[in-house]
């Protein structure tokens, strides 16, 4: 499964660099690198919800402050 993180102008300014870094760490810590990978995307079309993250067909709005929450409640639940 793939987590897509937007790195367009607005998302970049709202912290997509951080979000990607944190997600990479979380995937490694939870030993999920064989099941989940991260891809960046240019503008997922929902700048209001920056940082835009797309996972399993759904769009989410994630900030550097709640990446952990998103990973626990959304990613882990659907992967494991």
């Amino acid at each position: 499964m793939t987590i897509q993180v937007c790195i367009g102008s607005v998302c970049h300014l709202k912290g997509s660099y951080d979000v990607i870094g944190q997600l990479e760490d979380l995937i490694e810590k939870n030993e999920l690198s064989e099941k989940v990978d991260i891809k960046a995307a240019f503008c997922l079309g929902n700048c209001v919800g920056a940082v835009c993250v797309k996972f399993n067909g759904e769009m989410y709005s994630v900030q550097p402050s709640n990446v952990g929450e998103f990973f626990e409640n959304v990613v882990k639940k659907q992967v494991i």
Binding site: I7, G8, S9, H12, L13, A40, A41, F42, C43, C47
Partner: protein
């Protein structure tokens, strides 16, 4: 058919506001005419002598006048110095043709430097006396591996009485230029690297006006830079088709812009995360597109990189590091500096509503000004720039 790539820059004598050296470049249908003149003395007088000499020479030669007629006119026109009772300016005239043929006439400037792929090339010169002036004329052929450099005496004398007793000297400048004549070094880079060395030798206080003019030949290259979605989304397809049909390479700057291009081409976009930094979003890859980047943030950084790179007083090492870095802004800057003669910027005018919110610093006005700034700075690099609003 070659493109004559040329760049020049000067350091003013310490404490002078005006430069006593002057370079004039004119494009003619079959190539370029360049004149580097060094007026006697420094400051205002020297500046007037050098400017008049180079302007008269370029204008007359462009219109087909002979060297004799041109020198006649210069001698009759230059104001005579009150103190020295002389009207005097040295000059080097270069005519470089698209075919690679070059004609040079030199009067009292340091001899030209001609190098090819790291080696010195000897030039046969014919001595001629015109109106008591001893002129050296030469003719030779350049190719893509050749580098021709003309300097004012401020370069060969750099460091006199300071770091070097006898100054930098011609043969040492020649050695310094050899590695710069290999590979793809742009004329701008050659010019500023030499001037930066002079600045060091002079310990930041040039004792004379110091000028470098570099000439190279290469294939003409065009870049079409597409940034921002078109005002009318119904026309996206037609417009992209039109841009793709243009001659040259295509560069896309902007997330939404990249998405519509990828859709139109039916090619998936991949993002190269290895190029991501905390400051600059990564580059994307779409088959058939030379470079894909994010928009405003990247372009802003690119302008900064080019600005520092063009400034001969800016720390050379830092400027080159920024230019060679593995990120989207540096890649765009390299492309514009090294592989672009004509730049067509296709500016999409659609407004992203989120960009207009008060906490977002880069709205549409910022964007439009930024594009103008990019056009200006690229023009200063000596490129032909066109802006198309879509």
């Amino acid at each position: 058919m070659y493109f004559v790539d040329t760049f020049y820059n000067s350091l003013n004598k310490h404490g002078e506001e005006l430069c006593g050296d002057h370079v004039e470049v004119a494009a003619v249908p079959d190539g370029k005419i360049m004149v580097l003149a060094d007026g006697m003395g420094s400051g205002v007088k020297a500046n007037i002598l050098a400017t008049m000499t180079s302007k008269i020479a370029v204008t007359m030669l462009r219109e087909g006048a002979s060297l004799e007629e041109t020198l006649d006119t210069i001698a009759d026109t230059l104001p005579v110095c009150n103190e020295r009772h002389l009207a005097y300016s040295t000059f080097t005239i270069i005519k470089a043709f698209h075919s690679g043929e070059v004609y040079v006439a030199e009067f009292d400037n340091p001899s030209i430097f001609l190098l090819r792929d790291g080696e010195e090339v000897s030039v046969e010169k014919i001595k001629r006396t015109i109106h008591d002036k001893v002129i050296f004329e030469s003719k030779f052929v350049l190719d893509e591996k050749s580098l021709l450099v003309v300097v004012s005496d401020g370069v060969v004398h750099a460091g006199v009485g300071r770091s070097l007793a006898l100054g930098w000297r011609w043969k040492n400048v020649n050695e310094f230029l050899k590695p710069l004549s290999t590979g793809d070094t742009a004329t701008l880079s050659v010019t500023n690297t030499v001037l930066n060395e002079c600045q060091k030798l002079y310990e930041n206080e040039p004792g004379d006006d110091t000028t470098v003019l570099a000439v190279k030949l290469r294939e003409l290259e065009t870049i079409n830079l597409f940034t921002g979605p078109p005002l009318n989304p119904d026309k996206d397809e037609d417009i992209i088709e039109k841009i793709l049909a243009q001659e040259g390479k295509m560069v896309v700057c902007g997330g939404t812009t990249a998405s519509i291009v990828s859709k139109k081409l039916g090619k998936e976009m991949e993002i190269d995360l290895s190029t991501m930094t905390s400051e600059i979003p990564p580059v994307g890859k779409i088959e058939g597109i030379e470079l894909v980047t994010e928009g405003v943030i990247t372009i802003n950084k690119t302008i900064n990189i080019i600005r520092n790179y063009m400034n001969p007083e800016f720390n050379r090492k830092l400027a080159m590091e920024a230019l060679k870095a593995n990120n989207a802004a540096a890649m765009l800057a390299r492309l514009l500096i090294e592989r672009c003669d004509k730049l067509n910027i296709w500016v999409g005018q659609a407004v992203n509503p989120v960009h207009q919110e008060s906490d977002y610093p880069m709205g549409i006005i910022f964007k439009m000004n930024q594009i103008k700034e990019l056009a200006n700075i690229t023009e200063k690099l000596g490129k032909e720039v066109k802006l198309m609003y879509i």
